[in-house]
């Protein structure tokens, strides 16, 4: 009789203990987790979280709650992108003018899925823009169709201005410069000699990346340009050699040029279970493997779109699909 009572008591005791154990583990882990992450020895995890949080406005609190401004600045500074200057354009010799070939590749990494187009003739690369700049952006695929393009990627950045509530920007208001077919469609850079990050194409088919001033671009004979960065490869040199670039993991759009002049479009899907996205460094390394000598990052995130042969071939991260943007880079059709 006494024994039975005792074992029942024991059972209840174990159950309470297990429950207490679980509650304790959950609470303790939640409280100490951020500290292990931010103050522990896990450099990659820490810099990725801080980088991703700080480059997305709505998530900055994830880092600022636990780390001082100074500590964040220090972490971000280990993730530098070297400011290499593209001072001569002689590294590229355009060899395949009037070559209508486009090759398509799928790229697969550990945590991302990407798409590559290699366009042999660089003089086909143009910039297109929304026909309603200031009022609304347009879909990459719609601007591409309007310009009779065979392929296109989203282009420069924009201010995501609210329209009555948060996150309702329409991609209407670009930043920097948009130059399309020799005409300036938009420009908020007032100082002609100030160097800002651009991606531009000259009339002879050479791609400009990284900081360039308006007057420099004029001298180089630029016909098409958008503003964005950072440059990932300059004159055959990688700009990110330590750290991951400091922008975290996200969908990416990049453009690059090979030594023989061929243009490379790279778009990497992100924020999806099958493809989380890539760091700037990973995008850079893919382009480097493809022989890029000059390469730049373009606007990423939910803007990242690759249009080819009348279809969007990547998977934009927004659940509604493609989002509207102010500018694109496209390849004119030669059919």
């Amino acid at each position: 009789m006494r024994k039975i009572k005792k074992s029942r008591k024991n059972k209840r005791r174990t159950r309470t203990l297990v429950l207490l154990f679980i509650i304790f583990e959950l609470t303790f882990t939640t409280i100490t987790g951020p500290f292990t992450l931010y103050y522990g020895p896990f450099k990659n995890a820490k810099t990725t979280v801080v980088g991703a949080a700080m480059t997305t406005y709505s998530l900055q609190w994830l880092a600022t709650t636990f780390l001082s401004k100074k500590a964040i600045a220090k972490i971000m500074s280990t993730q530098t992108v070297d400011a290499l200057v593209q001072n001569n354009l002689d590294g590229v010799k355009v060899e395949n003018k009037d070559d209508n070939n486009i090759e398509r590749y799928d790229v697969k990494g550990n945590k991302f899925r990407g798409y590559i187009l290699v366009i042999n003739d660089p003089t086909r690369l143009k910039v297109g823009n929304s026909s309603k700049l200031g009022t609304e952006g347009q879909l990459t695929s719609d601007i591409a169709k309007d310009n009779n393009a065979i392929a296109a990627i989203n282009g420069g950045g924009f201010k995501d201005e609210d329209n009555g509530s948060k996150w309702t920007g329409t991609g209407a208001n670009p930043t920097g410069i948009i130059m399309a077919n020799g005409k300036t469609a938009f420009n908020d850079i007032t100082n002609e000699n100030k160097k800002t990050g651009v991606v531009a194409m000259t009339s002879s088919g050479k791609l400009l990346v990284g900081p360039h001033s308006l007057s420099e671009m004029k001298t180089a004979g630029v016909t098409d340009a958008v503003s964005f960065g950072p440059a990932l490869i300059v004159n055959g040199q990688k700009t990110i050699t330590k750290g991951d670039g400091g922008w975290g993991i996200a969908p990416r759009t990049c453009v690059a040029q090979r030594k023989d002049g061929a243009i490379i479009f790279l778009v990497i899907d992100g924020r999806q279970t099958k493809s989380l996205g890539a760091t700037l460094r990973e995008a850079q390394d893919v382009l480097y493997d493809y022989g890029a000598v000059n390469a730049s990052n373009l606007d990423g995130g939910s803007s990242s779109t690759l249009f080819y042969d009348d279809e969007v071939i990547n998977r934009p991260s927004d659940s509604l699909g493609e989002r509207s943007v102010p500018s694109i880079m496209y390849i004119e059709s030669r059919k």
């Binding site: 583990e25 100490t32 522990g40 995890a45 990494g109 009555g164 509530s165 996150w167 998977r315 509604l320």
Partner: protein, 343 residues
């Protein structure tokens, strides 16, 4: 075992788990991906098919076309949603999850993508799930699980502005209440407080986050973010026809359930500054349409024609009207779908 000892062990367990997890993330998951694999994609020379006849089953219901009329959707006799490619006539079923039924579907206004609502078909519980379906890739992505109150919740309307990325879902709860939910680009969901309890028609302003809605009982028109209703002087009963791409809202004067005059303008303007247009022959609300570019079309069922109210141009069609799309009219003639471009 003393409590001190026990807690110490627990702390060690938690810390080692954290370290193990972070170690894995740090050394494997986040290690810079240096071995991306490439595969060349060879295009199979696409043979673009000629336009062929599209037929739908006799008992097909809720026929609807996408914005550019490249795709068509309908429910077949088993109440399954079918998508047909209007270029080659190929059809495809959209699979729903086990025990679920696609209770609502709606094409997005500017792309070949649909919003779907799935509901468990066997019970009354109101768990509805919102999906986005990419027709080109045949992929279904879950947007939000909607835990909606009321036992007989039913989605009646979805309005989306792909420009602002905002989606509004109108749900009827079976009892005397309409609920409207707003889902933004980041997937955040909020409930909208409507002034009347029952809402009939809704329309969305494309460039701004503003929903215009009509009260079911008194036919008064409201917009989110303002407390007084939108009224037109000397008009007793108004009904909401729709909105165009330039944010104009189209309201019609109702007299004995017939429309004789249409008023249109922006919500930011006073309605005294709005424009108006009189219909030569009054018609029922179902026969009046607003196109994205701001044209008002009137359907004459008997004659089988669509009239542009502003210019007076008429386009005839055969059979029964299905829907207007950006470039023309879709109708069904003896189970065959017919496309006619606007004149």
């Amino acid at each position: 075992m003393s409590w001190m000892k026990r807690i110490s062990i627990w702390i060690v367990v938690s810390l080692s788990l954290q370290c193990l997890g972070l170690f894995y993330i740090d050394h494997y998951f986040l290690a810079t991906d240096s071995k991306a694999v490439s595969k060349k994609v060879v295009e199979n020379a696409s043979t673009k098919p000629k336009n062929i006849d599209i037929t739908v089953p006799t008992n097909a219901t809720k026929i609807s076309v996408s914005y550019d009329a490249k795709y068509l959707s309908y429910y077949d006799e088993n109440e399954k949603l079918v998508i047909a490619n209007c270029r080659d006539g190929k059809t495809r079923n959209i699979e729903s999850n086990d025990g679920c039924k696609i209770s609502f579907s709606e094409w997005l206004p500017d792309r070949n993508r649909m919003l779907l609502v799935e509901k468990k078909s066997d019970d009354d519980s109101s768990n509805l799930i919102l999906y986005s379906y990419d027709v080109l890739k045949a992929e279904k992505v879950k947007i939000k699980e909607l835990e909606w109150g009321g036992t007989n919740a039913k989605v009646e309307d979805i309005q989306t502005s792909t420009l602002t990325g905002v989606t509004y879902v109108k749900v009827s709860n079976g009892d005397n209440k309409t609920s409207i939910y707003r889902i933004d680009r980041m997937g955040e969901m909020t409930k909208i407080n409507t002034i009347p309890n029952l809402v009939s028609n809704i329309a969305l302003v494309r460039h701004q986050d503003k929903l215009v809605y009509e009260g079911l009982v008194y036919n008064k028109i409201y917009a989110t973010g303002r407390s007084e209703n939108i009224s037109v002087s000397n008009v007793d009963k108004l009904t909401l026809i729709g909105a165009d791409d330039d944010d104009n809202i189209y309201l019609a004067e109702l007299k004995d359930d017939l429309i004789s005059k249409v008023y249109y303008g922006k919500t930011s303007q006073d309605t005294s500054e709005w424009k108006s247009i009189k219909l030569q022959t009054p018609c029922a609300k179902e026969n009046l349409f607003v196109s994205p570019i701001g044209k008002i079309y009137q359907n004459d069922e008997l004659q089988g024609s669509i009239k542009d109210i502003n210019s007076g141009t008429q386009t005839s069609y055969q059979g029964k009207l299905v829907q207007l799309y950006t470039k023309g009219i879709v109708s069904v003639v003896n189970n065959k779908i017919s496309f006619v471009l606007f004149k």
